[in-house]
């Protein structure tokens, strides 16, 4: 099953490799991993999307908690939560495709953030499935390049992850 795990950790060199090293050493999956400092610059917030049985995910959270630099771990999938991912897509936009691409970007509430006479670069945010849907909706030959951030997640309502 897919789980989305949020980690608050010390913003120190090497902390990221302790987390990623733990996953590779113990054979856990990482579907995506995002990390950046929080409003408190001494802390980083990481979101990891992983898959595994309940037992494995329980071990993952326990093992993460054991890392000295990890302050808090929450499995967001345990409750209601919001996920967002950012994708930048460079598409061919010449001739008849140019108008079509503009329409597609509008339908998916994307924004065209860079333009040349042959291409558009579109910015899209949403759940992973929405970004997948966009890529499926566009003719594959027109996609020049994609880059995705992986999911970031936050709990719904009053639930907060803080020191």
């Amino acid at each position: 099953m897919r789980h989305i795990i949020s980690i608050l950790l010390e913003n120190e060199p090497g902390a990221l490799s302790r987390v990623s090293g733990l996953f590779s050493a113990r054979g856990y999956n990482i579907e995506s991993l995002t990390v950046a400092p929080t409003e408190d610059a001494t802390l980083s917030r990481m979101t990891i999307v992983t898959t595994g049985s309940e037992e494995i995910v329980e071990q993952i959270t326990k093992q993460l908690n054991k890392l000295i630099e990890v302050v808090k771990v929450v499995d967001l999938s345990d409750g209601a939560h919001i996920e967002r991912e950012l994708m930048l897509v460079k598409v061919r936009a010449a001739g008849k495709d140019r108008e079509e691409m503009k329409r597609m970007a509008d339908i998916f509430r994307g924004r065209i953030i860079d333009v040349t006479d042959k291409s558009y670069t579109i910015e899209l945010t949403g759940e992973g499935s929405k970004l997948d849907a966009f890529l499926q909706a566009v003719e594959p030959g027109l996609i020049l390049e994609t880059v995705r951030t992986g999911a970031s997640g936050i709990g719904r309502g009053e639930r907060v992850l803080k020191v």
């Binding site: 090497g14 490799s17 037992e55 071990q59 093992q63 054991k66 000295i68």
Partner: protein, 573 residues
């Protein structure tokens, strides 16, 4: 302003390192010098509070610090240089990590400006050791040395203990800072649990009191957590059988009638059968690893309720799902359990317990550790029995890894904790002799025996030289069967008896080898000479005696649970 600054003494990084070790009341640092740690060594030579022990290989430095830690309640300390100093130390660090041994390793690093430049003797120490330490640090500012070393000792010795490494670049050991040693460095991300949850403890006691076929299974956590006395009290007040893992030997007295022997791959028939067939299991400071319960699926075939006490939540329900988890320091939890027991009127079901003991005694009568006592060739088991007899069960016994390790665990009856020193988790050949050095430094007048084989001893035999330098009167008990015995045993059982590369050819003359280092060497070839030789050796209180026992080449360790099999599927003699 100038006057105030002049009054505050600034020390070099190297001086600060040594002052920190003094503040931690470190008696011994086991190490080996090299370019990146020269300033630190210079400071070592200028004081005599912290004594340095010069080994012959960095692996041995870490094993010696490890033996020191295991035989005392104090963390071990090792000091090595950058590059190859670190890579040599890694085996020792991983050994300590697998067995949760508190230790601080200080490593030199190339100067900060050279890091990442592929400098001479540079390795990414923090990267290489990351998976085999509890934590590690790279110090990049001389002012951080003292708080970092304090943190290292705090982390190494609290919660589930483990090795912590501090990597210090050479230029940082030259720079100066004011020395101020903090008593306690708060860490918001590190706060190990100590007391167990009282509701869980109550539930656990209830289960134990309702048990018909109870079993108590304890591991290294009881030794590390200094909980043997409380464990014995609990086992005695409940009247339940008790087994120890390889790491837990000595946690409960082996000569106690309620002790059913070690369990696991080479555990006793009675311990493994009781473990498999109990209805309530109390696991204390143990982790249900593959060498202990064999195949977890087979283990789950029997219906039983499990209570698991451990300081590390990740040890709970890792391989075996448990019913009542209790996270906490084992000693505190056992104390709480004892208090609840004495406050309660309830006692275990005496009739059920009597029937269970009758069953256990039947299993015991199988006499699973029997061997041919009339053999004309020395049986390895008889050597361990002689060692036990001659030392009256009071020796510190270290071992290497293989058949001799299992025989030592089976036949030396450890009644006290911290007397049995072996590499249980990583299974490191070469551990025995250097760890014995650490033990002997910690207990100058105690009898220290290193039980080894002719294969293992050669993995750190250079340490005979260290033993000469420091006059360590270790007694090396070598079971020489001219094979990597455990490898040969597996080949015999599972690989068509093809002895691929398991024969040790071209062995040295160990007697003369020992003598060349200035020690006493003995070769013992007849069963009748075993005990006499052992007495003679232990009578030489000031000397290292290397005993080369020529033993039966064909002897195997029994019982044996083959890899992947269930606990009750033992091969018996």
């Amino acid at each position: 302003m100038d006057r105030i600054a002049a009054n505050v003494m600034e020390l070099s990084g190297a001086e600060i390192v040594i002052r920190c070790l003094q503040e931690e009341q470190v008696e011994f640092v086991f190490g080996y010098p090299g370019g990146a740690v020269l300033y630190i060594y210079d400071e070592i030579s200028k004081q005599d509070k912290v004594k340095h022990v010069l080994v012959r290989h960095e692996q041995a430095a870490v094993h010696a610090a490890d033996g020191y830690a295991r035989s005392t309640t104090r963390p071990g300390v090792a000091l090595v240089t950058s590059g190859p100093g670190v890579t040599n130390a890694v085996t020792g660090i991983a050994t300590a990590y697998m067995d949760s041994i508190p230790m601080v390793i200080i490593t030199g690093q190339v100067p900060t400006h050279a890091i990442g430049q592929d400098a001479f003797q540079e390795v990414d120490t923090v990267g290489i050791t990351r998976p085999c330490v509890k934590h590690n640090f790279l110090v990049k500012d001389v002012r951080d040395i003292a708080p970092t070393i304090r943190k290292a000792f705090q982390i190494a010795t609290t919660g589930r203990p483990g090795p912590v490494l501090v990597d210090i670049p050479k230029d940082i050991t030259v720079e100066k800072a004011v020395f101020n040693y903090p008593q306690n460095v708060p860490m918001r991300s590190y706060s190990p649990v100590t007391r167990g949850h009282s509701g869980q403890i109550k539930k656990a006691m209830q289960l134990l009191l309702e048990a018909k076929r109870p079993m108590i299974y304890t591991g290294g956590g009881v030794i590390l957590g200094e909980a043997s006395a409380d464990l014995a009290q609990l086992v005695h007040s409940l009247g339940f059988p008790c087994t120890n893992t390889l790491m837990g030997l000595g946690g409960f007295p082996a000569t106690d009638p309620q002790f059913v022997g070690m369990l696991g791959m080479h555990g006793t028939y009675e311990a493994n059968m009781a473990m498999q067939h109990c209805d309530v299991l109390l696991a204390v400071g143990a982790r249900f690893d593959d060498r202990v319960i064999g195949n977890p699926k087979h283990f789950h075939q029997e219906d039983r309720r499990i209570v698991h006490i451990d300081i590390d939540p990740s040890s709970i329900s890792k391989r075996v799902k448990v019913d009542v988890p209790i996270v906490g320091n084992v000693r505190d939890v056992l104390t709480d359990m004892l208090a609840q027991l004495s406050a309660s009127q309830e006692r275990p079901d005496a009739a059920a317990l009597a029937a269970w003991w009758k069953q256990i005694d039947e299993w015991r009568s199988r006499d699973c550790l029997k061997y041919d006592r009339s053999s004309a060739i020395i049986k390895p088991q008889s050597v361990i029995e002689a060692l036990y007899k001659v030392t009256e069960g009071n020796a510190f016994v270290t071992s290497d890894v293989g058949q001799h390790q299992m025989w030592a665990a089976q036949f030396y009856k450890f009644d006290q904790p911290r007397r049995w020193i072996n590499s249980g988790g990583l299974g490191t050949m070469g551990f025995g002799l250097p760890s014995a050095m650490g033990v002997q430094f910690a207990h100058r007048d105690a009898q220290v025996a290193c039980v080894t084989g002719e294969a293992s001893i050669q993995m750190c035999i250079q340490e005979l030289s260290t033993c000469t330098q420091y006059r360590l009167p270790i007694k090396v008990v070598m079971l020489n069967n001219r094979y990597m015995g455990m490898v040969r045993q597996w080949q015999e059982f599972f690989h068509g008896n093809r002895h691929a590369e398991s024969y040790m050819d071209a062995l040295p003359d160990f007697v003369r080898l020992a003598e060349s280092y200035g020690h006493v060497g003995m070769r013992i070839e007849k069963p009748a000479d075993v005990e006499g030789a052992m007495r003679e050796a232990f009578a030489m209180k000031e000397r290292l005696v290397f005993m080369d026992f020529i033993t039966d080449q064909t002897e195997n360790v029994f019982p044996m649970v083959p890899g992947g099999k269930g606990l009750s599927e033992m091969i018996l003699v």
